[in-house]
């Protein structure tokens, strides 16, 4: 109950603080610094209009720079230093990176991340496109969509529990309670498999969880894009005798290619940051390590901030092409 009270007070203080900041700073600007009356009224109004945007923006810029911009540079700095026991740092040059590159676990994480990067966006987008195309054509499509979309609301941890039950294995002489093993035995498998401990393939069992979650996202975006395709192009294709598959692959897909790219990159970013699923299901054992979990391991279990920061920079490096692409697109749109 104590913490609930604290939360309530924070909401009140936070909201009250925000509102009074905005209100009072505007009041100050209008009534004290730049009064829009008297001999200098015109100049004062102009000046107030120069200042005001920054009053509106200040809290956001302040929070953004401390919570997102500053950490990028600080992480870069930390990745180039070593922590001295007892406090303080020493310059380490690239030795943290060197140490990391010599660790097989890092390369395992890199390999797995690459696998994730190929499989998850591709599978999610493909399933999403399929679901979008199919559900748009039937009357109960809306319900179907919201059911496929539902895993989106489930936490990665919740999803991990859900899928662990599917992958569960029991000794051969008992009934299997995991669906996958039940099916496997039913179709003549000899031994129940502990799916999550089979090296290499277990990665795909983990990826399945993220594909399951992200398909709904891809479907929602792509279905909106499909509906935005001008009718005439499809009608023209029908008149010309195209079959449904040709219409889909040669008329519809090319027209929504940009949206597909957006979906693809969005899921790519999510994949690069994937942590909870691996942490909850295998914790990187049995060769399922990924970068984000590797980093968490280094930071909070090995307490090695240097290498941890270095691996965080690798994630940043992998994200930055998308970052640049997004920024360029945004600027193009504004012009």
């Amino acid at each position: 109950m104590n913490s609930a009270l604290q939360a309530l007070i924070t909401i009140l203080v936070g909201l009250g603080g925000c509102i009074s900041y905005f209100y009072l700073s505007n009041l100050l600007l209008d009534k004290v610094i730049c009064r829009p009356t008297g001999p200098n009224a015109g100049r004062n109004i102009n000046r107030a209009n120069l200042i005001r945007p920054w009053l509106f923006l200040f809290p956001a810029i302040f929070a953004l720079s401390i919570y997102l911009a500053y950490p990028v540079f600080e992480t870069l700095r930390l990745s180039l230093t070593n922590r001295v026991p007892g406090g303080g740092y020493t310059w380490a040059g690239l030795s943290n990176y060197q140490q990391m590159f010599n660790e097989p676990k890092f390369w395992e994480a890199m390999r797995n991340n690459m696998l994730w990067l190929i499989v998850v966006p591709a599978a999610s987008t493909a399933f999403g496109l399929l679901a979008a195309q199919l559900t748009d054509r039937i009357r109960w499509g809306g319900i179907a969509k919201s059911l496929i979309f539902m895993p989106m609301a489930i936490s990665f941890v919740g999803a991990a529990v859900i899928w662990k039950l599917i992958y569960d294995a029991r000794p051969i002489d008992q009934d299997q309670i995991g669906v996958l093993n039940a099916i496997y035995i039913y179709f003549g498998g000899d031994q129940p498999q502990t799916w999550l401990t089979v090296p290499f393939w277990n990665n795909f069992f983990l990826m399945m969880v993220l594909v399951w979650i992200q398909t709904g996202f891809a479907m929602v975006i792509l279905s909106a894009a499909l509906r935005g395709i001008p009718e005439e192009t499809i009608e023209a294709a029908i008149v010309d005798g195209a079959n449904p598959f040709q219409i889909f692959f040669k008329i519809k897909v090319p027209q929504i290619m940009t949206t597909i790219l957006v979906v693809w990159t969005t899921i790519t970013i999510i994949v690069l940051k994937v942590f909870d699923i691996v942490y909850a299901m295998t914790n990187g054992q049995w060769e399922t390590q990924v970068l984000a979990n590797y980093m968490f391991d280094k930071l909070f279990r090995a307490n090695d901030w240097g290498v941890g920061s270095a691996s965080a920079m690798i994630i940043m490096l992998l994200v930055s092409p998308i970052l640049i692409w997004n920024v360029r697109n945004a600027r193009k749109e504004m012009r």
Partner: protein, 386 residues
């Protein structure tokens, strides 16, 4: 495409079936855990959850009533009763297809058969578990005769798991506390960024100043910065300025991480509002502050709702930020996601606890999801650069 002659009927059927399959496939995992959360530990361990929907054949070991209930009828000593009732089950629950008195041959007799126990005593059991035991000598011992039955029991679902987890008061698995902790994290972390972002978004959408384009580009760039980068620097900062690990830290962190998305979504929406309204208000002498509060905010409600849902789902489901900025060594402030991961480690085999705990944490986001799906979809469509 539907108007191609001759292809319609067959193709539509294929579509219907494919969609049904897809939906079933996507629903299946969640349903499995959901049903498991209503089964007892025994049921979960003995067979798959898909059996819970059908009557199942089980081997049960039951007992007759103890000898002290026997009555003397003429020369015979008799015990009558119902095996299921004696076992504390409802009388008409199960149907017996075979039974026996020895664990080596539990299917020795059909219902209605008469079995010789010993010393001339006999036992007969019918389909519904009623039994009749009689013998020439008094039955002795403190417990009843063991009877092994093969019985078909109807599906049985129970709320016990939820009762134990939430209302037992023992709180052995800490889910109740974790639930309130999650709540405590989520609400301020959802509300506070909205206000800050709304002001900034208005400035970026409707005020003209130098550097506006650059700021927007910066926000778009920050959208994709992985929060992994922020963990150590911010934890260091929080420790240095005395916030430490705790609710304040996690609220601030969620606010910071949520802002780019919030600003981006709200700016896009506000920029699409009709120019006339805002300019008319300016001409009429409204201050920017009044315009924002009385015109922009109410009109932007759909975008505000979209972001609120996003931020709510994201903070409710988050594990990483809570682990780094909130949960300290005492574990008093653990959230549900972290608690479930702990349970996965300590009670990995206890599916009744895991399934129930997972569903307690999933229930709230699912409710929000179905109640406000419209806004969620709208937000996704507007913010899919992220």
């Amino acid at each position: 495409m539907d108007n191609i002659a001759g292809t319609k009927s067959s193709l539509t059927w294929v579509v219907h079936i494919s969609v049904a399959l897809l939906v079933a496939l996507w629903l299946f995992p969640t349903v499995g855990l959901f049903i498991s959360s209503f089964r007892t530990a025994d049921q979960i361990a003995t067979n798959g959850w898909w059996n819970a929907l059908f009557p199942s054949e089980q081997n049960l070991t039951l007992r007759t009533d103890a000898p002290d209930t026997q009555v003397q009828q003429g020369t015979q000593y008799v015990i009558d009763g119902n095996l299921f009732v004696t076992d504390g089950r409802p009388a008409d629950e199960a149907t017996i297809s075979a039974w026996g008195t020895s664990s080596r041959d539990i299917g020795a007799y059909k219902p209605g058969d008469v079995a010789e126990i010993d010393d001339g005593a006999t036992l007969t059991v019918d389909k519904t578990g009623n039994y009749h035991m009689e013998g020439p000598a008094a039955f002795t011992g403190s417990r009843g005769e063991r009877v092994f039955v093969v019985a078909t029991t109807p599906p049985e679902l129970t709320f016990e798991n939820y009762k134990n987890l939430l209302f037992s008061g023992r709180n052995t698995d800490g889910m109740v506390k974790a639930f309130f902790n999650t709540m405590t994290v989520t609400i301020p972390a959802t509300v506070i960024p909205i206000l800050i972002a709304a002001f900034a978004a208005y400035a970026l959408a409707w005020m003209d100043f130098k550097g506006r384009a650059l700021l927007i580009a910066l926000v778009v760039g920050l959208l994709v910065v992985p929060l992994q980068l922020a963990l150590i620097p911010l934890l260091k900062l929080h420790l240095a300025i005395g916030i430490g690990k705790g609710y304040l830290g996690v609220w601030l962190a969620h606010t910071g991480f949520g802002l780019p998305m919030a600003i981006y979504l709200l700016r896009n929406y506000m920029a699409g509002l009709p120019r006339d309204i805002i300019e008319n208000a300016r001409v009429d002498g409204a201050t920017e502050f009044q315009i924002f509060l009385k015109i922009i905010l109410p009109l932007s409600f759909p975008a505000l709702a979209s972001f609120a849902i996003f931020q709510f789902l994201w903070t409710w489901n988050d594990l990483l930020v809570a682990k780094v900025f909130l949960i300290d060594a005492t574990g008093q402030t653990t959230v549900m996601t972290a608690q479930i991961v702990d349970l996965l480690g300590t009670r990995g085999g206890n599916w009744e606890i895991l399934a129930t705990a997972a569903f307690v944490s999933i229930a709230v986001p699912l409710f929000v999801f179905f109640a406000m799906q419209k806004y969620l979809v709208r937000g996704l469509l507007a913010g899919s650069v992220k």
